[in-house]
């Protein structure tokens, strides 16, 4: 194997020193001369018709520069072309508590807040719905003109009926996975500055500067070339800053009206209303098995509570079924899913985007099957593992796959088989597996352009600048890109200067979502660096009187292979190349292969590569209080290749952390449409005390298409942790809470049922209506028939 100088070595991220000294400038830290502050007026009602928005007394308040209402910005928008259902400011009705109806710009934040209080809004309340069942009830008040069933999908791959007929054993289960929110430490912030020559610059805490750029252009009806979007380093994203939010557009519009810079920083309460978090999801799973534990068929139904707007929700709906066949060989698969509008803040993509819920359901369901078949959970899963370089029944192309090694590693490191069903009552272990995308195969709007593009420039000083549209949201994408370029050019990552996430300076990158940056922007960087190296090699070869292909780039030098003394320093080599070729620049691009299957909806699920994970969780349950303590988590992750193991391990630990929150604590709770506690005290997230010990086991399957063989690690490791914890709770006390978060009250109820000799299960008992519409039958890929 080739030895790498930079790749594969644990090293601090190049931007770490700026972050520990407080020098990193997040969007909320930016200030411009003459800047105004924006605050939004938000609806106190979950569903109402707007009859009057009276801004007169607010306008009269000294210090108020401008006020906008819905009529000022009539263009509807939405992140997906299929759901253009949002307004910057509501013009006719409000759809959730927190829906913005007016925006104020004033000389300071205090005055803006006073103006907000002076705006009088008249509402005519409408009946509101807060559950899937109520939203679907005949006669329910429609939240959008098309009704409350936003999207239903019904797909069958193969012949599920035949698969169940061939089964020796069939089981079905019902689950519920509650909604949770991203809760980034940084509240969303934006600074917009419009100049009279007709240009607009927007700094935002966004994961998707390119999509924000497009929607600004559309909503403000300004040519895109007049708009510059700069993604400030985000103080945490997790998907919550990947949608385009009202305040970003309102601040830009206010800047255009006033001709002054306008800043808007959401309060923590408003961040809960911006949301776009995990969809509360009801799931029904039915599976058929042979007597020796092979899956014959799987039928999955999902009902997603979408909140008031579309957001990425149509994609989420498809994702709730698309990756289910990724880990196990399922010969016949039916997926039915729907997303329903309710009068709550909109759900959207949160770490794992639509796949943690079905993963939870499937992995808990499989443990129940294993028990009934008399197999251990490891054995049952091993018999059904997906094979590397195969195609799933729903047309996903699987390439590198180290899932079997992940299972081996995690089972052995945790001594799972020695512990499972053998620990004293109150303690238990649980296992779960999963897989995830290394980037979505398709962009959110149709185009055939590259998904990631990178430019590299170098000059006679040896200075190398990498221009990338990707946004670092804390995951370390900046570090990945400079390390990739450094490896190719024989430099250190700190020697590569980076300009990132600036639509005026950097070529387009679709953004930091769907775990796509390492794979896609990494590949684009690799190509650009190889091209720059070829340019420099040409100049250096002339100077060294050697053949370009005999040159080695290493240790900040360019030299002839086998004669390290016959060489040039990197700056000398750049100067030689500049003399020979003029200004040195090279570009690279990455477009994923076309992988969509032959059916509508097949755009969701395909990815150029999938990561795989296996997890064992060990828990202690306090039967007196119902509290669960996660003692330790072992997480094996097939990363392809760890470009920087320090950062990869950090992503795994962060994923485990977030999963512990979803498994035991975090829930978006509403009463009458009002958020029960839009604060960080009331919304329970894990503190240092709830965090378990984590043992990360990296499996390197070296993906043939990933940069240096790398795949994703930012989202996949979250997925198996939630069901592993649920399975561990069952192992500890023999009760099933088929619902997350597993709160003490639910667990106590289940334990009480167990004591009284009832079915020791707590969870949903009735599925919502199964109105998924006409079934589309999709032929199975070659090799399955």
């Amino acid at each position: 194997m080739r030895e790498f100088a930079v790749i594969g070595r644990p090293r601090p991220r190049p931007d770490a020193a700026a972050r520990v000294t407080g020098r990193t400038r997040y969007a909320g830290d930016l200030t411009l001369p003459g800047q105004l502050w924006c605050r939004l007026v938000r609806s106190p009602l979950p569903h109402a018709r707007l009859t009057r928005v009276d801004t007169a007394s607010a306008r009269a308040l000294p210090g108020v520069a401008a006020i906008l209402t819905g009529r000022d910005l009539p263009t509807r928008y939405g992140i997906l072309p299929v759901s253009q259902d949002e307004e910057v400011l509501c013009s006719e009705k409000v759809r959730y508590v927190g829906d913005p109806v007016a925006a104020v710009a004033a000389v300071d934040e205090e005055t803006a807040a006073r103006a907000v209080a002076l705006i009088q809004v008249e509402y005519v309340p409408l009946p509101a719905v807060f559950s899937i069942e109520d939203a679907l009830r005949p006669g329910a008040e429609p939240i959008h003109p098309s009704g409350n069933l936003q999207r239903a999908v019904a797909l069958e791959f193969g012949d599920v009926a035949a698969g169940f007929q061939a089964a020796a054993f069939v089981r079905e289960d019902l689950f519920f996975y509650d909604g949770s929110t991203h809760l980034p430490l940084e509240e969303h912030a934006v600074l917009a500055s419009y100049a009279p020559e007709g240009t607009l610059t927007v700094w935002s805490s966004t994961q998707t500067p390119h999509y924000l750029h497009r929607i600004l252009s559309r909503v403000l009806q300004m040519p895109a070339d007049r708009i510059r979007v700069i993604a400030a380093p985000a103080g945490g994203g997790f998907g919550g800053k990947s949608d385009i939010l009202n305040h970003e557009l309102a601040a830009a519009a206010l800047s255009r009206v006033t001709g002054r810079p306008v800043k808007c920083v959401l309060s923590r309460e408003e961040v809960f209303y911006a949301h776009r978090g995990r969809h509360p999801t009801v799931l029904w799973v039915r599976s058929g098995w042979t007597a020796d534990g092979l899956i014959t068929a799987l039928h999955l139904r999902t009902w997603l509570d979408g909140g008031a707007y579309g957001s990425y929700g149509v994609a989420t709906t498809y994702y709730s079924g698309a990756l289910t066949p990724l880990t196990y060989r399922i010969p016949h698969y039916r997926f039915e899913g729907m997303r329903v509008f309710t009068n709550k803040p909109a759900c959207g993509p949160k770490r794992g985007h639509g796949t943690p819920q079905p993963r939870f359901a499937l992995e808990c369901h499989m443990d129940k099957v294993a028990e009934e078949l008399g197999l251990d959970p490891v054995d049952l899963r091993r018999r059904n593992l997906v094979a590397p370089f195969s195609t799933t029944v729903n047309w996903l192309r699987v390439t590198s796959c180290g899932l079997d090694r992940c299972v081996d590693e995690v089972v052995s490191a945790s001594s799972f088989l020695q512990k499972h069903r053998r620990l004293p009552r109150g303690r238990g272990v649980g296992l779960a597996l999963s897989g995830y995308l290394s980037g979505a195969g398709l962009p959110v709007y149709w185009n055939d352009l590259p998904h990631s593009q990178v430019r590299l420039a170098a000059d006679r000083s040896g200075r190398v600048v990498l221009f990338s549209g990707a946004a670092d949201i804390g995951q370390g994408s900046d570090a990945v890109l400079v390390s990739t370029a450094a490896e190719v050019l024989g430099l250190q990552p700190e020697e590569i200067h980076l300009v990132a996430g600036d639509t005026a300076l950097t070529p387009v990158d679709l953004g930091s979502y769907s775990s796509r940056v390492t794979f896609m922007a990494g590949n684009a960087t690799l190509q650009a660096a190889q091209r720059l190296r070829a340019l420099v090699a040409r100049g250096a070869a002339t100077r060294l009187e050697a053949a370009a292909e005999d040159l080695v780039f290493a240790g900040g030098r360019v030299f002839v292979r086998g004669s390290p003394d016959r060489g040039l320093s990197w700056p000398e080599a750049c100067a030689a190349a500049e003399a020979a070729c003029g200004p040195l620049s090279a570009s690279g691009a990455y477009t994923p292969p076309r992988l969509a299957g032959p059916y509508r909806g097949s755009g969701v699920g395909p990815s150029p590569a999938y990561s795989f994970s296996a997890c064992v969780a060990q828990v202690a349950v306090d039967e007196a209080t119902g509290e669960v303590r996660v003692e330790k988590v072992w997480l094996a992750h097939d990363i392809g290749r760890a470009l920087n193991p320090l950062l990869v391990r950090g992503q795994v630990e962060g994923s485990v952390y977030m999963a512990v929150g979803e498994a035991l604590l975090e829930r978006q709770d509403y009463r009458g449409g009002a958020h029960c506690g839009p604060s960080m005290l009331d919304y329970k997230s894990p503190t240092v005390y709830e965090m378990p010990e984590v043992e990360t086991l990296l499996v390197e399957s070296v993906d043939p298409e990933g940069p240096f063989g790398a795949k994703e690690c930012g989202q996949g490791p979250l997925l198996p942790v939630v069901p592993a914890i649920a399975n561990a709770i069952y192992d500890a006390v023999g009760v099933r809470v088929d619902e997350v978060p597993v709160t003490p009250d639910m667990l106590l109820r289940a334990l009480d049922r167990q004591r009284r000799g009832l079915d020791a299960r707590v969870g949903p008992t009735v599925a919502p209506p199964a109105s998924f519409g006409p079934l589309t039958r999709v032929p199975r890929p070659e090799g399955w028939a």
């Binding site: 520990v20 000294t21 980034p184 923590r268 630990e653 005290l681 997230s685």
Partner: protein, 163 residues
Amino acid sequence: MVEAPALRDVQPLTLRVNGATFRVVAPASRTLLEVLREDLGLTGTKHGCELGECGACTVLIDGEPALACLVLPVQVQEREITTVEGLAGAALHPLQQAFVDHGALQCGYCTPGMLLAAKALLDRRPRPTREEIAEALSGNLCRCTGYLRIIQAVAAAAEGGHA
């Protein structure tokens, strides 16, 4: 032309921050966090909730950790305030270096508060146990790292004899 808002309860303040003295006039309702960020331009101290719940705005007041979003500057006029900008000299503070080396930060937004909470601990307890580190950081939320590397970094800085 935007009319100036009415002057509301502004007051002169003398604040000692990171060893320097600042004189500012600010509305009396402004918290120490807002005055540090808006009036003194010290944006290293972060706001995450404005309600004393997340710890992102932790600063030291006479060496003790305090939540700047819950402190009125008039309360701390004669006191020594330390923010993240006051930690490093020409070189990083050993805690900062340990955070860098151990990968104890991702987005970095909670980091200033974490660093100051940790500094207060190490000043008081140069060789803390893991439990003491956890307790000292238990009021600071982090959504990225899962805390483990932060604890390791604090322990390593203590091990190295933090200056």
